[in-house]
């Protein structure tokens, strides 16, 4: 049964030409002219309508769509290029600005530094002068003090001596005699005591 089908189909494939010429049924239906006219008619009709609709309505639309997209993309690219150039110039401007401001800042710094140095110098001078004056004043005071010191010391010495004598001896001694002794001593040993 299987074999029969197998060979049947094989034969049909290999020898269909024979069958075509032999019979209408069982051969190639393609060579049966019964519906040829119908097929030609419908082919012409459908293909004709397809061609007309495609060529008049659909293909121009697709074409214009593609063109539109192309031009749109081109425009976008151009716009992007333009913006790139713009941003480049802006960047350059910015760089210039930065450079200029750097130089300006440097100058300001320099000026400020010079000014400060000048100020410091002038103030230093004033201070120096003031210090000098103070020193001079102090020296003068010291001088005055130095001049007065022996007298005071003598006075203290006299008072202390009288006090000591009073405590030691218990006698009241005339201050004038003590002062005479102190004066005498100070005159002799003044240099030793005051370091002059």
């Amino acid at each position: 049964m299987i074999k029969k089908y197998f060979f049947h189909s094989i034969f049909l494939n290999l020898f269909f030409l024979k069958e075509v010429f032999a019979a209408e049924s069982g051969g190639m239906p393609q060579l049966n002219p019964e519906f040829w006219v119908s097929q030609i008619f419908w082919l012409t009709l459908t293909f004709g309508i397809l061609y007309i609709v495609l060529s008049k309505a659909i293909l121009p639309k697709i074409s214009s769509n593609l063109e539109l997209r192309k031009s749109q993309i081109q425009e976008n690219i151009e716009a992007a290029e333009k913006q790139r150039i713009e941003s480049d110039t802006k960047l350059k401007e910015y760089d210039d600005f930065i450079l200029k401001s750097k130089i300006k800042a440097k100058n300001i710094y320099k000026d400020a530094r010079e000014k400060v140095i000048k100020d410091i110098n002038s103030k230093k001078e004033v201070l120096d002068r003031q210090i000098d004056e103070e020193i001079k004043k102090a020296e003068k005071e010291i001088e005055v003090l130095k001049k007065n010191a022996p007298e005071k010391i003598n006075k203290i010495a006299i008072e202390t001596s009288s006090e000591l004598i009073k405590k030691l001896i218990g006698a009241e001694i005339n201050s004038s005699s003590i002062s005479a002794i102190v004066d005498d001593l100070s005159k002799r040993n003044g240099d030793k005591y005051y370091g002059n």
Binding site: N13, V37, S38, Q39
Partner: protein, 244 residues
């Protein structure tokens, strides 16, 4: 019976018999699939061209890719002069492709497996190309049969060969498509018949063959449409540019 692999190619009437004069132009299953194919093409490409977005959706992409594919094919083979024939070649390619592809669906009818259909298309192309050639070049178009650089002794022979090859163009063009379609579908039917007749035990081998053949036939369906269109372009190129 289903066992006969040729029954799938039978044309039968759908609806009443329509006659113009003595010609029968009834609506048949072949006509039905011509109408279905054409409608499918029109619907797909109409949807694909309806709205234009910069980022196309799937159907628009499909339409535009087909457009550029055919457009590139024509400009590659026939040059820029073939631009006016773009719509014809596009519809031809799409029609043949869709008819082939619809034929791949089980229980459908393959329009292009009928010699009369392919022959009418091929004859139309042949006559059209010849007319275009004579309009463009006048009687100079006959130079197509006289290749340059051929020894004078061989010339009569070459001219005869060239004329025969030129005249056989519609036959080769139509038979190529028709034979490919018919052979493929017959093969598939035969292997399908084996699956049934060998049953559950022996049927797996022909079934796997059938699956493989389906893939091959889809490839052939595309390829034959492409070949049909590109040969039309080549014939058109001969008619338009005439340098043999």
């Amino acid at each position: 019976m289903a066992a006969n692999p040729m029954t799938q190619f039978e044309v039968y009437r759908i609806g009443p018999e329509v006659k113009i004069g003595s010609f029968d132009i009834s609506f048949t299953n072949a006509s039905l699939f011509m109408v279905i194919s054409s409608l499918a093409i029109l619907i797909i490409f109409n949807l694909g061209s309806k709205k234009n977005s910069v980022l196309p959706n799937k159907i628009q992409l499909l339409a535009e890719l087909s457009y550029t594919f055919v457009s590139k094919m024509i400009s590659d083979t026939a040059g820029s002069k073939a631009k006016p024939y773009f719509a014809f070649i596009f519809s031809l390619f799409m029609f043949v492709l869709f008819c082939n592809m619809f034929g791949m669906i089980p229980y459908t009818f393959t329009v292009t497996s009928h010699i009369i259909v392919t022959f009418v298309l091929a004859a139309f192309i042949f006559i059209g190309v010849t007319i275009v050639g004579f309009i463009k070049h006048g009687f100079g178009y006959l130079k197509l049969f006289v290749p340059s650089g051929v020894p004078i002794v061989l010339l009569p022979l070459i001219v005869v060969i060239e004329i025969i090859s030129y005249l056989s163009r519609p036959i080769s063009l139509s038979v190529r498509l028709f034979a490919n379609m018919m052979a493929g579908h017959t093969m598939m039917k035969v292997f399908g018949g084996f699956v049934v007749s060998l049953g559950i035990i022996g049927g797996w081998l022909p079934l796997s063959f059938s699956v493989a053949l389906t893939g091959l036939e889809i490839l052939v369906a595309f390829l034959q449409a492409y070949v049909f269109a590109i040969l039309t372009c080549i014939y058109l190129n001969d008619a338009l540019n005439l340098h043999h």
